[in-house]
């Protein structure tokens, strides 16, 4: 019945320059790197008490545990990427031994190097767009020609007809709202994209997760050359002004480890 606790290797990221990890020891005291064929894997030793398949499953139900560990994962990679390009691995990428990790480095060496070369002098930035639906609706009611016209009709109609028209107005508001959200999203995306070398559209997170009163309407990531980052920041400021009256908010964050822009793994093995 008793299970012996065992050491595992937790991999954070891979890079091709010597990682500066001294400061990272405040985050995880046993963080270190493993060198193989020109690649450095930044890893730490963790215990199966926390990260064995069974224990990990249990811990994954604990949001506080996830928050703490995910933050460490991110901070370690951010620390390493201050000086060099990195390939960030997914949360809880675990190896049984250093040897299996080294084998992975050897087998994936070519594709890892290719990715690092592609990522050099580039940064990942994220833009999440939120919309205050109440404010947008208000804005539409006051400015949309069709809605204004309908409103006038309602005011000059008999109560019975006014009710029917009022129902029609509700439907029209909904339709226009969706149409406008799409337009604003596409326009913003197009403007942001012009500074990037690659872009992604990711899953929307609902309000229960974002804990904001506004709805997320677009969740994007861009890979941007470092020299173009200032331009992209200016563009975000432009878009913010452009859509402030419509109730749109833009969260522009970065530089992130290039989580969205690495192609390593099963697909790469077949390539």
């Amino acid at each position: 019945m008793k299970s012996q606790s065992k050491g595992l290797i937790y991999l954070y990221c891979v890079t091709d320059g010597i990682p500066q990890i001294k400061e990272l020891k405040d985050l995880v005291d046993n963080v270190y790197f493993i060198f193989r064929l020109g690649l450095y894997a930044v890893a730490s030793k963790v215990s199966s008490d926390e990260f064995s398949e069974e224990n990990l499953k249990r811990n994954l139900a604990d949001l506080e545990w996830i928050k703490a560990k995910a933050s460490i994962h991110e901070k370690i990679i951010e620390g390493v990427m201050k000086d060099i390009s990195v390939i960030p691995f997914k949360f809880a990428t675990l190896f049984n031994t250093e040897d299996t990790l080294k084998t992975m480095l050897k087998e994936q060496r070519r594709i890892l190097k290719e990715n690092l070369d592609n990522l050099r002098d580039k940064e990942e930035w994220g833009v999440k767009i939120y919309c205050d639906m109440g404010k947008l609706k208000e804005n539409l009611i006051q400015n949309d020609k069709d809605l204004i016209k309908l409103d006038k009709e309602i005011k000059s109609s008999s109560p019975g007809k006014a009710f029917i028209l009022w129902k029609k107005k509700e439907e029209l508001v909904k339709t226009i709202l969706h149409k406008r959200l799409n337009e604003y999203g596409q326009d913003s995306f197009k403007r942001l994209k012009q500074h990037s070398v690659a872009s992604r559209i990711n899953k929307l997170l609902p309000r229960e997760v974002t804990e904001r009163k506004e709805e997320m309407i677009l969740n994007t990531a861009f890979l941007i050359e470092k020299i173009k980052v200032a331009d992209s920041i200016n563009t975000v400021e432009d878009i913010k002004l452009r859509y402030a009256a419509q109730g749109l908010f833009f969260d522009y964050t970065g530089p992130w480890p290039p989580y969205n822009f690495c192609s390593v793994g099963e697909k790469a093995q077949n390539a």
């Binding site: 990990l56 997914k90 809880a92 940064e123 994209k193 899953k203 997170l205 229960e208």
Partner: protein, 71 residues
């Protein structure tokens, strides 16, 4: 250099979870013990994923040139 622009710590945490749990390189094979399980992380938050689908309709026409996330 640029630092993370975030109005509060909570936003940063949301941003971190959105990436660390969902993105990043996944290597599968015998050498890794539990990667397949990592998707389970969202189970705790997964209630949420179903309501995402309704919002996704808002994206409407494909955004030209962007790689859609394979789901």
């Amino acid at each position: 250099m640029h630092s993370v622009i975030a109005e509060s710590k909570d936003i940063t945490l949301l941003e971190i979870l959105d990436r660390v749990l969902d993105k990043g390189v996944v290597i599968s094979g015998d050498i890794v013990i539990s990667l397949a399980e990592v998707d389970l992380i969202y189970v705790g938050l997964k209630v949420l994923i179903s309501s995402v689908e309704t919002m996704e309709r808002l994206r409407g026409a494909p955004f030209a040139g962007a790689m859609e996330e394979p789901t």
